[in-house]
Symmetry: C2
Subunit: 310 residues, 2 copies
């Protein structure tokens, strides 16, 4: 069961000849979640052979062009491809104006329905769930209302320990109970504890997306222990004043958030085009948080599935 992130765009507002504006694609069990949609996202999706038709959910962090100017083109292409499935777009309330403009002027006879979900930006909240996944939005601190997104696998049913099940032969309704964590009472009244009947739980994998934001330590609580934290790192510490003024973060600040939140892995991106080389940013992050990576277009970050230890 896949849980992997593909980087489609890693630049900040001014793209370069090699870097596209922000867009990430999260694959959870072959369902694809698009997070931000900078200009050229559909071209990147093709380049990295993503299945357009498997994208049913798009999450937009805020209304700055470098995070959403790829939407018009992508929505048009869905139409040309004859898409039928509903498309759910999660974003600030202003997205309605943006999407309405598109529909009025560029999509007279759409083959599919767009369903908008307005994400508040005041507190952490569950904005989407399916049987495998929960998605939360949470407030960031930028020049305009901006949210991060947290993707967490849901506690699935427990897997049965086949040997034990063959031994105790529980009935159908007892089996369902076991999968949901219940113990088994045998006919002789003996109780077999659930842990002897099931395999250890799968750990719920998680990914958090934080772009764009000034240094905002309050979010560390929300990000606690995530497998992958993506945190913008527009500037280096030498440009910390500029970062503060523009409500962006430095690479060091991103790493400080990662450290506070005790995440497994930090990805940085949204680089200002003033840095010809991202090493300066990566090294700065690594000084604070060793397991840091500076993302580039086309990279894939997998989180392996593993069972919880005792």
């Amino acid at each position: 069961v896949n849980f992997s992130l593909t980087i489609l765009g890693s630049s900040s507002a001014l793209p370069t000849s090699k870097r596209f504006p922000t867009a990430h694609l999260l694959n959870v069990n072959e369902r694809f979640f698009l997070i931000d949609c900078g200009e050229g996202t559909q071209i990147q999706l093709r380049r990295y052979k993503a299945k357009f038709s498997r994208i049913n959910h798009i999450f937009i962090s805020h209304m700055h062009g470098d995070h959403l100017f790829g939407l018009f083109g992508l929505l048009s292409s869905f139409n040309l491809l004859g898409r039928k499935a509903d498309l759910h777009i999660f974003g600030p309330s202003e997205m309605k104006t943006f999407i309405d403009f598109f529909i009025t002027h560029f999509s007279h006879s759409s083959t599919y329905k767009i369903i908008l979900h307005s994400t508040g930006h005041k507190k952490k909240q569950l904005i989407y769930e399916n049987k495998n996944l929960e998605v939360y939005s949470f407030p960031l601190k930028h020049r305009i209302p901006t949210t991060g997104f947290l993707f967490v696998e849901k506690r699935a049913e427990l897997n049965l320990n086949k040997l034990a099940i063959e031994k105790y032969k529980p009935g159908i309704s007892a089996l369902a109970g076991i999968k949901n964590g219940r113990d088994l009472e045998l006919e002789n009244g003996k109780i077999i504890p659930n842990k002897d009947l099931t395999l250890k739980k799968w750990r719920n994998r998680s990914y958090a997306f934080c772009s764009d934001t000034t240094f905002y330590p309050k979010i560390a609580e929300i990000l606690k222990g995530v497998d992958i934290l993506y945190h913008e790192a527009t500037f280096s510490q030498a440009d910390a004043t500029l970062a503060t003024e523009t409500f962006h973060s430095t690479a060091r600040q991103a790493a400080e958030i990662a450290k506070m939140a005790k995440v497994s892995k930090l990805l940085i991106g949204h680089y200002s085009n003033r840095y010809k080389d991202t090493d300066i940013l990566l090294n700065e992050a690594k000084e604070v948080f060793e397991n840091s990576f500076a993302v580039s277009e086309g990279e894939v970050y997998n989180v392996d599935r593993y069972r919880e230890s005792d």
Copy 2:
């Protein structure tokens, strides 16, 4: 003195992993004219090292997304780069709504002024000129109002034949007359014809852009003798019915226009993504018009400057 065309995007509405939607960049004497602006144009401009700041004129053929969805990103980047020069955009009257939407929602404090020029689509008309160049719009035939654009160098002053000038030593006002084509009357009343005093005229180079359009032979008159004709060739002749239905052209039809108009060189593009290989389209065009080329991103087509023959 340059007159060269760079292909920024060659695909039709659905971009591929290698082809961007339509955008051409014409360099006339180091002034850059952007023609259509599909998604990703600013990324292509960077990739091919075009000077953003030298683009002061943008021409949009029609209001389909694959010809203008790159505008929002490009206009934003101009702003981030601190552009000061006025930007002139030529296009259908509906461009006003499009640009107003951008300004209202994404450009609160612009560093430069956008000046919109509405191009009619009923007849050929001069829409722009400077001392080196004239630009005309002319009607194409598509599902919505669409124009082509014709770029023609202007007749410059004549260059003097130095040997003759040294011999006859005309005064300053006589010299100005000679440069404008007048003969020289010597003090003894003898007339020296202009052609003995000047070099042959530079030929006025020209480029015509036709996208998107159904087969429309009427335009051949307007395109007569251009150095480079770009004409869309969305489909192959096998899909001619589809071309007619969608108001697009086949490669053979593009070549027929080139042949009727006796142009020097035909460029085809705007390929449907159903063709994995453009050879089928190119071969079809070449059967009718030998000097045909199927464009790809990053190609540069120069028109050399040369003097007219007698």
